[in-house]
Symmetry: C2
Subunit: 313 residues, 2 copies
């Protein structure tokens, strides 16, 4: 049984590991940054695997390597096998299994990080590892199995269904203004007057993402010259500025939970009403099945994340 795997040399767990590391990193140098010794080792291990399988696993793509179609398949096989073995061992040693959760930068900040412990508990006491990725590579990573869970807009999933995702929240955006920046006795409804915005000191993100651009576009369409006084690398900093009373800002509903309504007015930001999308928890059904995570558990996890978002008023 399985003679053909052993009658020939060139197959070993270490070689598979070297190849997988290259596959994950996208290049040999990326797999072992600053370690030329290991780079040369991986290079040879890949060649030996290619000889063993008589397959071109990699192709040169300019200066770096890329996976050939066969390489993509083998990498998926190896990843799954290693993970299965690791899970088996984790159960035996009574150590929590490792799950990877992936989302966009701001989503991780707003929704995930503050609730990691709850999430880990719902998933059965697992160890969670978070990663930042944009929508498209995120969905791809879930598909190929290198990521267990993703938080992503539903429309980024090619075939959204009850089997591979669960809604978390409907995104919406709000204009948030600290009271102290407004004339005394200003009521929240007066904030709808765009004329008032002109003089407000704004803070905005500078992450180059879609959201930031959409806000600027919307402001321009309203005829408001939007020149934020602060451009922050992280939206967490923006919220912090708003909370301290120094700035106004456009914030997503998932960020409102940290603001004191007695000190900060917030009203829906109409121009971005159509920009709202459904965020879903996304997973690979085969992988979750293999790792013994039930659909119910996944829906519970989505619930935990949903509970983190205050209801829109």
């Amino acid at each position: 049984m399985f003679k053909s795997l052993f009658s020939q040399k060139g197959l070993s767990l270490e070689r598979m590991r070297g190849f997988l590391e290259m596959a994950e990193a996208g290049s040999i140098a990326g797999a072992a940054p600053g370690d030329v010794v290991r780079q040369s080792l991986i290079s040879r291990q890949i060649r030996e695997l290619e000889e063993f399988f008589s397959a071109e696993l990699t192709i040169r793509k300019g200066k770096t390597l890329a996976l050939a179609p066969e390489g993509v398949r083998l990498a998926a096989i190896i990843r799954e096998q290693f993970q299965t073995l690791e899970d088996f061992r984790s159960v035996q040693v009574n150590v929590p299994r490792v799950f990877t959760l992936c989302a966009g930068a701001s989503t991780l900040e707003w929704m995930v990080t503050p609730f990691l412990t709850d999430l880990a508990r719902v998933l059965g006491g697992v160890q969670l590892r978070t990663e930042m990725r944009r929508s498209r590579p995120l969905v791809e990573a879930v598909r190929e199995g290198s990521v267990d869970l993703g938080i992503v807009r539903r429309d980024a999933i090619p075939d959204p269904s009850r089997k591979n995702c669960e809604p978390i929240v409907e995104l919406s955006f709000h204009l948030c203004v600290p009271k102290q920046l407004l004339p005394r006795k200003t009521t929240p409804d007066r904030l709808s007057d765009t004329a008032m915005w002109q003089d407000l000191p704004f803070a905005a993100g500078r992450d180059g993402g879609q959201l930031d651009g959409a806000i600027r576009d919307a402001m321009e369409q309203l005829g408001v010259s939007f020149r934020p006084r602060f451009e922050c690398g992280s939206m967490l900093q923006v919220r912090s500025l708003v909370q301290q009373g120094g700035c106004a800002a456009i914030l997503p509903n998932v960020a409102l939970s940290g603001l004191d309504p007695n000190r900060v007015f917030s009203i829906p930001f109409r121009p971005l009403a159509g920009y709202g999308r459904t965020l879903v928890l996304h997973w690979n059904p085969r992988q979750m099945n293999r790792r013994d995570v039930s659909l119910d558990t996944l829906r519970d996890a989505a619930q935990v994340l949903a509970a983190a978002v205050p209801e829109a008023k």
Copy 2:
């Protein structure tokens, strides 16, 4: 990634192989018959795996070893992983993949062996390996993945469904008598008279299976003293004797295709009418899915086997 698999020594493909061989054979000595050297090697490999996983994979059961529950799980994992790697390699090297087909002794003789080439073609040019096993271990082997396809009575499958089996044929039994053993101008319908049977020289199987016993019981109930002149180790030999005109015999419908109706009369053998069972092709849905065998292909395979059986008249 997967650091825990490599930060500790004790895991290797060879060790997994040694363990799997023991698991398949049910004991170390069985895994390496007559090779005490390899036996001691396997013994140590198993211990090293047990240390690596901190798990009891085996338990002493009297003189031999048996798999502990954890060992059963790990063996299934390893078998699947090795098979996946072997399949991957087979596709690359353009060598047919190996599939294992399992059935009872007589079923293998009657239905499978003569049609192996057709079957291999329908399954996509695979290499077929046949194995003899009785119903219960067969179903178990399909479940754990050590066998791809089984031919078995439907009632031996715990949860028969469209997803894990497909009917092949309804078994029935026939009394077959060469013309030359009968008085001239005897018509087939006269064969219903059990008095005629008394003087016929019968051939019968001697495989100790259910079928043989059932025939003898039925004869006894009919008041016929059934003392076959020939007791053959294989039912193929029985059919051969009938074909040559030397003997009468009770044969299953799946054996009739080899008989010349002009030289041999055959009529349904009523006493065993209730003994007929549905034979099905049985498989493990997860395994067939992993090995890229579609349900359609499996149904085609069942068709091929069904076509081997002549219609009952």
